[in-house]
């Protein structure tokens, strides 16, 4: 496991390139910094400065090597590499509120953008006029979209929203792709069709994730619970309430294992093998055994007096010292990445998960 600190600012979002040698991060402002790995260090090689508002989402398409960024200034830019520099292209997303999240589709011919305008903007490139167009999914969304995830078939899109619902929409754009075959979620998929509306998940739905096959959908909510909807088992819902603080990000690392992380600053592993079998497996952050020197009795009572606790440390005993905001799964066989609010990026090997 390796750890690198990018400075003093919280990292609000990040994205890796295809072979994990470069990372695009935003230190909670309107700029995206791209770092490249040189030996043990990460060196800044590019700075993308087109946005005027705080950057809320970055996604890097591995095959076509394009970066899409979205910000609170209601814009999204697609960046392409030309002559060693990243050149931005404005996307007409037509939203009147901040964008909150953005994700390339699996085939990278379109991307979905969630926003505070209570709609999802699905954007695709139109060759005739050489610009990016967007189509909106509005009904029945009633509040800010907090998270998006694409189904492997490049058509279905899961969205978690602040209106406490988790939904699966069809984002089929007939101009650029063929009609999709039926899936476990449904057969008829015109654009904007709702194939699943999981009502009242208990809290804002912070993150959604499809399983590798696309048949299961996991989401984590602000009520500290993990929910899995299983399309292969007639959309049965399994919910697990946890005793941790709410989680902000969830990811399927394998068809049965889930990773979730959030305000507890520590990733947790869950396993799902069928309806009703969602279980917590373990915490993935093994706390470092700091050698706490023996405290004198005087120190002991002084602590009790001042702080009402006997413990002297101010640090959490996890690797990350602040909330974890997003996770990314790598295509490399055994690495999985995390990132969070207190400027550290951490890579973890998945063989830890298999123990």
């Amino acid at each position: 496991m390796s750890l690198y600190s990018f400075g003093l600012e919280p990292l609000s979002c990040h994205a890796w390139n295809k072979d994990r040698t470069q990372i695009a991060v935003s230190p909670n402002n309107n700029v995206v910094n791209i770092y490249e790995k040189k030996g043990k260090d990460w060196v800044k090689i590019h700075e993308l400065t087109e946005h005027s508002g705080r950057i809320t989402g970055i996604d890097w398409a591995p095959e076509s090597n394009r970066i899409v960024t979205c910000a609170s200034d209601r814009n999204a830019y697609v960046w392409t590499m030309k002559d060693g520099l990243w050149k931005p292209t404005l996307v007409l997303v037509r939203i009147n509120r901040a964008a909150t999240c953005v994700k390339w589709s699996p085939l990278e011919n379109k991307f979905a953008l969630g926003s505070g305008a209570r709609l999802i903007s699905v954007c695709y490139f139109e060759k005739e006029n050489d610009w990016w167009l967007s189509k909106h999914i509005k009904k029945p969304i009633r509040s800010t979209i907090l998270s998006l995830d694409w189904h492997p078939n490049n058509i279905l899109l899961a969205a978690g929203s602040a209106d406490l619902h988790c939904r699966v929409f069809s984002a089929y754009i007939k101009d650029i792709e063929d009609k999709p075959g039926p899936t476990a979620w449904g057969a008829k998929m015109p654009f904007g069709e709702v194939l699943l509306e999981q009502k009242d998940c208990g809290g804002w739905v912070h993150s959604v994730s499809f399983s590798p096959s696309g048949d299961q959908l996991a989401c984590v909510t602000h009520s500290s619970s993990v929910i899995v909807v299983d399309a292969a088992q007639s959309k049965q819902v399994t919910q697990l309430t946890t005793e941790h603080l709410p989680m902000l990000s969830v990811l399927h690392v394998s068809p049965t294992e889930l990773m979730a992380a959030g305000h507890d600053s520590c990733p947790y592993q869950f396993t799902y093998k069928g309806p009703g079998t969602l279980k917590f497996v373990k915490k993935l952050d093994i706390p470092k055994q700091t050698s706490k020197g023996s405290m004198s009795a005087m120190q002991h009572f002084r602590n009790l007096d001042k702080r009402a606790t006997e413990d002297d440390s101010n640090e959490l005993d996890t690797l990350h010292q602040n909330s974890i905001t997003t996770e990314f799964f790598s295509d490399l066989p055994d690495v999985q990445h995390l990132q969070q609010l207190d400027f550290k990026v951490c890579q973890e090997k998945t063989d830890v998960l298999n123990q």
Binding site: R142, K199, S224, T242
Partner: protein
């Protein structure tokens, strides 16, 4: 011009009320459900003085509404012996612990003579079982008790 010649009544209209995409809280028709029968609960208490039946019994009913229920619950919780609290919490399932936490915090809102001390003991034991997650669920629950 010192006087407005055009009416400004439009400024007092609440435009958000007319927005067709307004977020509407989906409330169940739970407000009219009667609270637990006081006599029945008293009877149960007399039968099983160190009973674990209190919070469970209330949890089994669907979300009793109103202040009566809240006072009742605090009464039941106060009647437990300190040593029995841990066992009682241990006998509840996850949903029961969440419901118990909701009532504990409701009880905190309106403290009476000795209720806070008792409720704090219950809180400590419930926290050990439910963790901070149960408190988060008290805060995020749309249906309050």
């Amino acid at each position: 011009m010192s006087k407005n010649t055009v009416s400004d009544r439009f400024r007092k209209v609440d435009v958000d009320e007319y927005d067709e995409n307004k977020f509407v809280d989906e409330e169940d028709g739970g407000e009219n459900q009667g609270g637990p029968d006081e006599a029945e609960v008293d009877g149960l208490l007399r039968q099983y003085p160190s009973a674990t039946g209190g919070p469970e019994g209330l949890g089994a009913r669907e979300r009793p509404g109103g202040e009566r229920a809240e006072l009742l619950v605090v009464k039941v919780l106060s009647s437990f012996k300190s040593s029995d609290i841990e066992k009682a919490v241990g006998s509840l399932d996850k949903a029961g612990v969440d419901l118990l936490m909701k009532y504990i915090y409701r009880g905190f809102e309106k403290p009476s003579d000795n209720s806070s001390a008792v409720l704090l003991q219950w809180h400590e034991k419930a926290l050990a079982v439910g963790g901070v997650g149960s408190i988060v669920r008290v805060l995020t629950a749309r249906k309050t008790v």
